[in-house]
Symmetry: C2
Subunit: 323 residues, 2 copies
């Protein structure tokens, strides 16, 4: 609390020094307390100039996600009421699934600066260097099991909308769970759930967004299909602001989804680039090629094959066929 | 191994004594080893008469499930290749879900003599005194998420068939997951799963069968709707033989289901008592009343309401309406 106040006062004074006495008076604590909080801020990674007889000033800020900053002005209804941040973790999804089993509140968000065992769909890895966003949201929707795949689509709507707003780039959704910019992947979503035969206990929506990462750290095959917001906009992105925007959009679209999933699907269709494309879908041992015609009420992709028949695909990897 | 051999030889000789020397010669170990195995059998709960100069004979067998006996003549393809037995456990489903997360083989069976936190559907308790069967089977079917509820129906087919064969009583299925005799519940099934949006990681099929329990231990409201095989047949049931029969039926119907779920559903329809009945279904806040007409390809109950419209129910509690 006091630490945040000191931080905000120092930020406001920019390059000008503020004496310990002044800080102490402004927030109503002793100079010893001010000095202790300054030490804590330094431990958090802030560069703070301390010059005897002049006082303190901030010279650099750490590029770290901080709970209080994320929550500032967040004003969501469900998502992000509780936030846990880890400098390093195996997987935010795994941690969130554990927390959900231990009765964590719906809307709890688990964030990590880096993941040592980041997960993608179908047991794949999600390479997770520092500088990006990796977070998972615990949800407890009262929906039947067959509606669960729509949660991933809802998440994609939120991320694509937030990226468009926060970074002013044309993010689009590729079915089922990728967000692309200029044909390259900038975000992936991984939904995991625990369920009974006819009831969802909890769903964890995991989101990885490539923000400020150096694309050179990626293996060549992954790098060819991947981009970052830094690379697309040519400027370093404020991760906190982007995360806040995504949480707000999630909060909004989750309510829309619960109220009427058709409204959420309309938004998905407006943001997606798969429908109308000629695609190849691989999965479950075979490959289908045809025209992606739409998604059904459960989020499955409807594909019109060349023989005129229609197939509905629940899972698979989509490639856009160019010819 | 030797312990089982000694046990089988003692059983075969019935009330006649067998000397330690004879036993040692028959299985090819020392008399000291025979004596050690006899001690182990006593620890397992066998009553063994040991009379100097005459030898050994069995006077009582413990009523405990034993791995080797269950596996004798089991001959299943997948189910029960690996069996874990606990004298007492919180919940076989919970333990099986943990084992599944730790990569236990498909078909692994977790059994307990009694459960301290036995689980029913929708967060309910499953009262688990000694004398019954409580077990969970780990499955890894490669099926889409919306087919998952069929696993419960498959389990009910296996249990009802096995009870009919092993106990010669008319067990029937009540949608979605109960097995009844004379209108009272004798078995409940609880399916739990871990899944991604479009892929099932593992399903645990939990089965509780009321076999030899004393119905008086149940609270009155539960007792009124519950029966046991002992109570229906007026004789004590061999739990090992019944369990073996259920595992065999599970092994069979699981293969049928994977090959063509419609064939499994036909068997379900033949064994069920819900279709054709006038029912009330409660769930998700409202109650429907009408005629149960059938189940669809995903195991949902089709109900024809009195106004002539048809509704499909994925989850709920069914009551048969008598009038």
């Amino acid at each position: 609390m006091y630490k945040e106040k000191i931080l905000n006062i120092l930020r406001a004074s920019r390059s000008a020094f503020l004496s310990g006495e002044e800080l102490a008076r402004k927030i109503g604590v002793s100079r010893t307390m001010v000095w202790k909080h300054i030490k804590a801020l330094k431990r958090d990674g802030f560069g703070i100039d301390a010059v005897p007889s002049q006082g303190y000033r901030i010279i650099s800020e750490p590029d770290l996600l901080r709970q209080n900053e994320i929550k500032t002005g967040l004003k969501t209804r469900v998502i992000g009421k509780e936030i846990h941040i880890y400098p390093e973790i195996s997987s935010t999804n795994t941690r969130a699934m554990e927390m959900a089993s231990d009765n964590a509140h719906a809307g709890t968000v688990v964030i990590a600066e880096t993941q040592t065992g980041g997960k993608g769909r179908l047991g794949r890895k999600w390479i997770s260097p520092k500088g990006n966003l990796y977070f998972s949201v615990i949800l407890r929707p009262e929906i039947p099991l067959h509606k669960a795949p729509l949660i991933t689509l809802m998440g994609a709507v939120a991320v694509a909308s937030a990226i468009r707003k926060a970074c002013n780039v044309h993010a689009v959704i590729k079915w089922p769970n990728d967000v692309l910019i200029s044909g390259k992947k900038v975000c992936g979503l991984l939904t995991e759930m625990s369920a009974e035969q006819d009831r969802i206990r909890h769903i964890v929506l995991g989101i990885g967004v490539d923000v400020n990462m150096d694309l050179d750290v990626l293996p060549t095959d992954v790098r060819m299909m991947t981009t970052s917001l830094l690379s697309e906009t040519n400027k370093k992105i404020n991760r906190t602001a982007l995360l806040r925007e995504i949480l707000r959009e999630l909060d909004h679209w989750y309510q829309v989804f619960l109220h009427d999933s058709a409204d959420m699907l309309k938004a998905w269709e407006n943001l997606n680039m798969t429908i109308g494309s000629r695609i190849a879908v691989s999965g479950a041992g075979d490959v289908l090629e045809g025209l992606a015609q739409g998604v059904d009420t459960e989020g499955r992709l409807i594909v019109k094959l060349d023989d005129g028949t229609t197939r509905t695909v629940a899972a698979g990897d989509v490639t856009i066929v160019k010819r």
